[in-house]
């Protein structure tokens, strides 16, 4: 399946990327599995997604949890805790 990944704020800056198209072999996966795959890219990816940082995840613009499942065509966004207002 192919999904769209989006990164915001500190994450966007550290990864030097705001979005990418991402293809997985499986037809579905959990947010936790996706985070592990991203962390496995190493270096800055590992530092952001190895569980040491507070990462919020939204699937199709709704907040998700580690056990939420990701499907083909989804937009999955990663960002730090919000600080607006």
């Amino acid at each position: 399946m192919t999904i769209k990944l989006c990164f915001f704020a500190r994450f966007r800056e550290k990864l030097a990327i705001n979005e990418e198209s991402y293809t997985l072999e499986s037809t579905t996966c959990t947010v936790e599995q996706l985070l592990m795959q991203l962390a496995a890219r190493g270096e800055v990816w590992s530092s952001l997604f190895d569980g040491s940082q507070n990462v919020l995840v939204a699937i199709n613009q709704n907040m998700a949890t580690l056990t939420s499942s990701v499907s083909d065509g989804d937009e999955v966004a990663f960002f730090p805790p919000v600080t607006g207002g």
Binding site: F8, A9, E13, A58, Q61, P80, P81, T83, G84
Partner: protein, 146 residues
């Protein structure tokens, strides 16, 4: 009801637009760019957001407030981009017949906005940008409504 915009806003215009014959109370909150940060003097901030999600998230926050209190009108404006000291960042204005609903709903919307709406603030101190860390206190504030 909800605007995410670069340009400034007039509080008087927004509050006047909420006036209806039955409106007895309008409570508004305005958030401003503040000079003091934990690690120096802020000269400006930059606000990033998640276009596809932020509007949706604010609509959801307002819908929750409207379920809890008998409101006659709600206006939320959040600015984005580069803002300097004392500039207006956010307006939440709530109209109701009586003041208690308006006070509570405005505080509720701000508490949720601060913890759930995808905006991120970068503070400029001596020309260098620092992403602001989320505040523990904001998580405590939002938990009082559950």
């Amino acid at each position: 009801m909800i605007s995410i915009q670069h340009q400034d806003f007039s509080i008087q215009d927004e509050i006047s637009a909420l006036q209806a014959p039955n409106t007895g109370a309008i409570v508004s909150f305005v958030g401003l760019v503040r000079e003091t940060a934990s690690h120096g003097k802020v000269t400006a901030i930059e606000l990033e957001y998640y276009p596809a999600m932020t509007q949706k998230s604010l609509l959801d926050i307002v819908a929750q407030a409207e379920q809890r209190w008998p409101l006659l009108g709600v206006r939320v404006i959040h600015r984005i981009g580069y803002l300097t000291i004392s500039e207006q960042i956010v307006l939440v204005a709530v109209a109701s017949q009586h003041r208690s609903a308006a006070f509570e709903a405005a505080a509720f919307i701000m508490d949720f906005l601060k913890t759930k709406a995808p905006f991120w603030k970068k503070e400029y101190i001596n020309g260098e940008g620092h992403w602001v860390d989320a505040k523990e206190g904001d998580m405590v504030a939002v938990s009082r409504w559950s």
